[in-house]
Symmetry: C2
Subunit: 120 residues, 2 copies
Amino acid sequence: MSFLDQLQSVVSQVDGALACSIMGFDGIAVETHQVANAGDLDLASAWVEFASILTQLKTAAEQLRAGVISEVSINTDKVTAVMRPVSPEYFLVLALRPDGNFGKGRYALRIAAPKVRAEL
Amino acid sequence: MSFLDQLQSVVSQVDGALACSIMGFDGIAVETHQVANAGDLDLASAWVEFASILTQLKTAAEQLRAGVISEVSINTDKVTAVMRPVSPEYFLVLALRPDGNFGKGRYALRIAAPKVRAEL
């Protein structure tokens, strides 16, 4: 499966999913699948900010002996974002509507991560 | 109920909970309840780092029109942290073992937040 197929598969199986991306920690997306009606969310800008925050979290967790980050989620009143590192350079991120299926989204990313990692 | 009672109530009803705190966004804890066997996690330092990250997230979310942050969770291989702002100055944070009941933890914080807010 291509990266885009993996992302489409994640989005299609999660109720309320808006977009799924493979991103570098430098904030540049490798591949993105976004549904047509994602509204006025500026997802591209959001991903860049979240990549920066994820990088800081990684550093903080390492310094604090809090372990290796496996997942970060950020819920706002407009969007829920779930992020999962797949390699030292890349992570998967899924954006959902706030009423979307958060548990299924986490599960879908966990299943997709090793498949994406294998093809990086 | 005092703050400490609220925190003890959250920790006691969530399997795998390690500690629960009310913290300022300046990283200073107002009140903390921690179980005795929380292991070698340096929770105090972790909270300060996470407060700093939460502050950055708030700013990022506002700038991006991504909405008001309602919850942030960070999962590592050693600890899961769930954070929920209760006012512009304070937030609740719950630390769980990675195999703890994440869903129940999120629920317990959501229920506790308005009670804590009412007493701030």
